[in-house]
Symmetry: C2
Subunit: 197 residues, 2 copies
């Protein structure tokens, strides 16, 4: 139907999350029509990312340097480590702002169903970091899912003799959320975790 190069580009674009076979064709056409302004810059950015971006050996973040720019930032609080499932969660917390400590990326959650055990996650690295005398608090920022909370409980056990205080993100009504549209679990959690004004 189309040239081999175009066909191959469409196939690879179709594997990008958010794009399917149909939108991959549209994306490929968009890029091919705008070689100088869209296709080549994207190709360059991908090549640069492939060459330069690596996983931080300390925290598991992705960055152009190792240790990553968060780990080496002297203006950040070195005494608090926030544990997240994935780099995407780290990015979300950075976008939200307000947290200026360190991170630790586990690389997923424990999941019996998917066969993910403790050795598949970067938990030992976290325990080693928590043993550092400078670290005083570990914040667990896993998702409020079954797997996320299972992982949180496991991490709490592993951190028991590290001499750090462990906290967890608050569960409750999301900002802007209407009670009427929220699930029962969230409302119960918010009720249990109510705070005096």
């Amino acid at each position: 139907m189309t040239g081999g190069d175009i066909e191959r580009l469409i196939q690879l674009l179709a594997k990008v999350p958010g794009l399917g076979p149909r939108s991959a064709r549209r994306a490929a056409l968009h890029l091919l029509k705008r070689k100088e302004t869209a296709l080549e810059p994207l190709a360059d950015a991908l090549v640069a990312a492939a060459e330069k971006v690596r996983t931080c050996s300390t925290c598991g973040n992705l960055d152009g340097i190792d240790p990553c720019s968060i780990c080496v930032d002297q203006n950040r609080n070195l005494t608090i480590i926030c544990v997240v499932e994935d780099v995407a969660d780290l990015w979300a917390l950075e976008r939200a702002g307000g947290f200026r400590g360190q991170y630790h990326v586990l690389g997923g959650t424990l999941s019996a169903l998917d066969g993910v055990g403790p050795d598949d996650l970067n938990i030992t690295g976290l325990v080693n970091r928590a043993h550092d005398e400078n670290v005083v608090e570990v914040i667990l920022a896993m998702g409020a899912t079954v797997d996320g909370q299972t992982t949180a409980h496991y991490v709490i056990d592993r951190l028991a003799d590290c001499g750090v205080s462990v906290s967890q993100l608050a569960h409750g009504i999301p900002v802007g959320g209407e009670l009427d549209y929220l699930d029962d679990g969230t409302i119960s959690a918010a009720m249990k975790a109510r705070r005096p004004i």
Copy 2:
């Protein structure tokens, strides 16, 4: 928030149709986590496409060769030219199958609103091709939109003294369409164009 290379990749992915800022982050992370299997092949495909894919000087199709593989295919009917607005439409017709003639890509539709006049489209190229004594039929396959039909009428005028028969794709009820859900215009068009069984 993230390394400059990652930020730049996200920004460029966000401009791809089908991806927004949010899904671009997800796509970037997906690619960065799968360097060998996803990121590098996509980068290679983009580089190859940038180098090799060009616009066919005959019909306006995109392909790795010029004239394109459809124009040089000796098994295709050289006497019929199907006129489409865009390469995407050409691809759609090829996917649908059934047409084994030549194509001509106009590169858009006439649009007073967007300031697109006849000189902005590849209409002169079509008229020149239609003057070829081998060409006996021109099929207009523009969309059933106001701009598409305006363009079709203009092209019909320009082809008047080329000595070719001009036809247009049938308008009517789409296959699988239920009358109850169709707009009045489609139903009227289908009624007007009704055919004896």
